[in-house]
Symmetry: C3
Subunit: 103 residues, 3 copies
């Protein structure tokens, strides 16, 4: 069993908190870390500077496909970022907790 981190960004504290709680309740991730960010990006040819919330979903390889599909369904953005970051290694007790806390 391997650990996986899924990265996504959200428009508001309310949306990211609500989605993180739903994901953890459904055991698609064991833990979600949320931090406030400023984002700079182009949208329809114009540069935007916008506050957002970045979330790291900690889960197992087994759950990552279902998690991604659920994030696509729940996400308020038309084109959300749902990026998978490889975890090279993790300590054994945390891996056990990840497995026990997910489906």
């Amino acid at each position: 069993m391997k650990p996986v981190i899924i990265v996504s960004t959200f428009p508001s504290k309310q949306s990211v908190t609500s989605i993180a709680n739903q994901i953890v309740k459904k055991k698609l991730a064991a833990c979600v870390n949320i931090t406030k960010i400023s984002s700079v990006y182009t949208w329809k040819g114009k540069i935007e500077n916008q506050d957002e919330y970045l979330a790291l979903f900690k889960t197992t390889k087994k759950n990552q496909l279902t998690l991604k599909k659920e994030l696509e369904k729940l996400h308020p953005y038309d084109v959300p970022e749902i990026a998978e970051i490889n975890v090279e290694s993790i300590n054994q007790p945390y891996m056990k907790w990840l497995v026990d806390s997910t489906n």
Copy 2:
């Protein structure tokens, strides 16, 4: 085409915001996420605790070399961190947006 995340840290909100806007304007990254951090490090034998800003530049493999060179040129630090993090997978609509928003 593959997605890439480049990580760097900056001394001030003003410097990171200015550089992020230049990078996005030049289409070397589609999006930059910025967050305030505290950093602990040694510099010339002394331990420093300093506020900084961490930036994640989201781009494509095709643009990453030019982005790194531009960051080296614009960066206010003598020895900046310019680290490339592998993205294992990404959702197709976001990948399309990354490609459309970069060179």
Copy 3:
């Protein structure tokens, strides 16, 4: 020599700052980036929403095993997260600084 990022989360500003300073003093990491986060997770069957601090320890492959063991020893949690993230590439001057600042 390869760069490594170790990710961990801590319960308070005081604990993460103290441990980051000890790690840098022992030259097990060249730099630690700390940011405040909100975490959502299950603990003993209940969903918790808790403030935490996320830390990124920047070190070399050579130091990562000793760093992980030291983090396990110092960490206030029973089951801390100690995750290793692969760095695909890094600029040469920063790599030199990482090596010079660690054991």
